[in-house]
């Protein structure tokens, strides 16, 4: 008599070789040294994380509207809450703040889709964000046309000022940088020398002295009545400075493209601009995305230096708020808030660049 074959399910692997326990064993406790280090790390985290959480959340004060509401031992977020409008809008006229909100919204509409792969009209939104958007937002914020009352730039401040400075810096520095990088590699001596001189001059001085010259020395040389605004001076200074850096980053990419590419383009009958625009630059820019984004992030953080010419960006509004005698012991909260704002934007840029690198990855990467 023959038994019938009954298929039995295979036994699961022993607990000790799969699942979380195995992961812990393989990664945290796989040797005496790593066991000691793991235990030490867990001990340190155990001591650091709970106090931070209880300071920032469990013991923190959220309700109220002045310093007396901060009775707990934790953070006094009331301070941030009360001052939030000042941190975001600076001195921007209260009735006109919707214009700043609208600008933030437009920026988000143009930029956020870039994070998603298959968003409809994504490319057009991207193009608009560097061409149309600065114009629309500029008109919106400055006003004076279409029935919008003008808001002078000296009233700008806080987060909106930080974003304006860095956005203009980023959008303007990239094309300038490309032109300077191409110019520096040009075979025409005049063009090359002008570009080299520009780059070495601006890269050779600290941003703080560029801003200081723009704000302190420039007005002395200008004829009377030529008082153009501080913000504009700062913007020009930042753009010049960042273009020089950007040019060198892009030049690094251009140098990595083999000469054969240019020769092949020439063999196809492409002229200089078309061979650069269609063959060389797309490859070069792709190579240096990390460098470009690095420069952008540095620029974003460098905008805090405008404090020394009396423009109150987000860090400066925080700093001038924590010295207010009406508030006591809120320095940590203020700086944590400013750091958080910077982190959000810098981390966003970093994530975007990583996504872009993956998308443009064509198999050359090791």
């Amino acid at each position: 008599m023959m038994g019938k074959y009954v298929e039995k399910e295979a036994l699961p692997p022993p607990v000790s070789t799969s699942g979380p326990i195995a992961w812990v064993r393989d990664n945290l406790f796989n040797s005496p040294l790593s066991t000691i280090l793991s235990l030490l790390t867990i001990y340190l985290l155990w001591n650091i994380i709970p106090p931070i959480f209880s300071w920032a959340f469990f013991d923190a004060n959220f309700a109220g509207d002045n310093v007396d509401a901060c009775t707990g031992t934790g953070a006094c977020w009331v301070f941030i809450k009360v001052r939030l409008n000042f941190f975001i809008y600076g001195f921007y006229a209260e009735a006109e703040r919707w214009r700043v909100d609208l600008s933030f919204l437009l920026l988000a509409i143009a930029v956020v889709p870039q994070f998603f792969d298959k968003f409809p009209y994504k490319m057009w939104l991207g193009v608009a964000s560097v061409t149309l958007l600065p114009l629309i937002v500029g008109t919106l914020l400055i006003g004076g046309v279409l029935g919008l009352p003008p808001v002078e730039t000296h009233q700008w401040g806080g987060l909106m000022l930080t974003l304006v400075l860095s956005y203009v810096g980023i959008v303007a520095a990239l094309p300038f940088g490309v032109i300077l990088a191409l110019g520096r590699r040009s075979e025409m001596p005049t063009v090359r020398m002008v570009c080299v001189a520009f780059i070495e001059l601006w890269r050779g001085v600290p941003l703080i002295s560029v801003l200081f010259m723009a704000s302190v020395m420039l007005p002395l040389f200008l004829p009377d009545g030529w008082d153009f605004q501080k913000l504009l001076r700062a913007l020009i200074g930042i753009t010049m400075f960042q273009s020089a850096y950007m040019a060198e980053v892009i030049r690094g990419g251009l140098q990595a493209i083999p000469k054969g590419q240019v020769e092949a383009a020439a063999a196809l009958g492409l002229g200089y601009w078309r061979s650069m625009g269609l063959i060389v630059l797309p490859q070069a820019l792709k190579l240096v995305i990390p460098g470009i984004v690095n420069t952008f992030i540095a620029l974003f953080k460098d905008t805090t230096l405008v404090l020394i010419i009396g423009l109150l960006d987000i860090l400066a509004t925080v700093q001038s708020s924590i010295v207010d005698p009406a508030w006591r012991g809120v320095a940590a909260e203020g700086y944590v808030f400013a750091a958080f704002c910077f982190w959000v934007f810098c981390f966003g840029m970093s994530k975007y660049s990583q996504a872009l690198e993956r998308k443009l990855h064509t198999g050359h990467k090791r």
């Binding site: 000296h154 302190v216 020395m217 200008l222 008082d227 010295v323 005698p325």
Partner: protein, 339 residues
């Protein structure tokens, strides 16, 4: 090199001065613009600081508002430009601002070589000491061997060294970069005393967890008269800025306040009448309306009100009048008569 730089700077300043001297009168500019351009600090408690709503407040701010009220009839018509210590004089020289009201010490060098004129003193400051009350020190002369927290800044350090040397005492300095660090150094006991300008000491004290545990000693070891300043070469504007502050000081002396200024219009006192423009031509002589001082007092207040509102005993700074009391009350605030 240093000499060459100073020659260059001098030439620059001279150019700026000659350029601005050729400008039309500042008064006409302000009237045409409908706005006073006033330079203030980027944030100094009691003197110029943005409040929760982003409005500028402080003694220096009110000084500018009073000028705007006197010239334009509206204390709100001021455009405040926050300036750092380094760019303040250039901003004035280049015409970016009409008045600099930024806790600036009146010194010989500044008055004579920068192309600016100080118009008066809206706060008599001086370097002082703050100690923990627990130390039981009552005078700065008992401080031999003390460790002193100083905010980096050479005049403060030099004054301190001079004072201790003159009195044959020793000290060990503990230097910090920002006022936050200085006060936390003091609070954590890194030093026995903290030195800075007295107005700053009160601001720093208000930042302590328990301000009543610290005490500001009576000794003042340097003279720091703070006041507004204008460009050289426009005497009419200089007079306006100077006399607006004088009018506020005179108003306090005569008992005219923002609350009673309307009833004071009917006063029989000739001094009050001249001040408020019901008799005499004080306003016209300045090129302003007869109600110039009335508007300044009505909208901003007299000097005492301005002081009490921003730095006085009822504010977190809790500064007593001291040197800034009227001359009739033992202080130094003294204004020439309006006659």
């Amino acid at each position: 090199m240093k000499k060459r730089m100073s020659v260059l700077t001098g030439a620059l300043v001279a150019t700026a001065v000659s350029a601005t001297a050729a400008m039309a009168g500042t008064l006409d500019d302000v009237k045409a613009r409908g706005e006073l351009l006033c330079g203030v600090s980027t944030g100094l408690p009691g003197f110029s600081l943005p409040d929760d709503k982003g409005n500028w407040t402080g003694l220096d701010v009110d000084t500018c508002r009073a000028i705007a009220a006197a010239v334009l009839g509206d204390a709100k018509k001021v455009k405040f430009t926050p300036l750092t210590a380094k760019e303040r004089f250039t901003a004035l020289q280049s015409g970016e601002i009409d008045v600099l009201s930024r806790n600036t010490t009146w010194t010989h060098t500044r008055d004579t070589s920068l192309g600016v004129n100080f118009t008066g003193v809206n706060y008599y400051d001086g370097q002082g000491f703050m100690v923990q009350k627990a130390l039981g020190v009552k005078s700065a002369l008992e401080l031999d061997g003390a460790s002193v927290c100083i905010q980096a800044g050479t005049t403060t350090e030099l004054n301190l060294a001079d004072y201790f040397k003159l009195n044959g005492m020793k000290f060990s300095p503990v230097v910090y970069d920002t006022s936050d660090q200085t006060v936390s150094g003091f609070a954590s006991g890194r030093c026995d005393i903290l030195t800075s300008d007295q107005s700053q000491l009160y601001a720093l004290r208000s930042k302590l967890d328990d301000p009543s545990k610290a005490e500001v000693l009576p000794e003042v070891i340097s003279k720091e008269p703070l006041g507004p300043l204008v460009r050289q070469g426009d005497d009419a504007w200089f007079n306006i800025v100077k006399w607006t502050l004088f009018a506020q000081i005179n108003a306090e002396e005569l008992g005219v306040t923002s609350a009673n200024v309307d009833t004071m219009l009917k006063s029989e006192n000739p001094n009050v009448q001249r001040l408020l423009g019901t008799s005499g031509d004080a306003g016209a002589k300045l090129g302003l309306g007869a109600n110039w001082a009335y508007e300044a007092i009505k909208q901003v207040g007299n000097y005492g009100e301005m002081f009490d509102r921003n730095v006085g005993p009822k504010t977190p700074l809790q500064i007593s009048r001291g040197l800034n009391a009227l001359w009739t009350k033992g202080g130094l605030q003294y204004a020439p008569p309006l006659r």
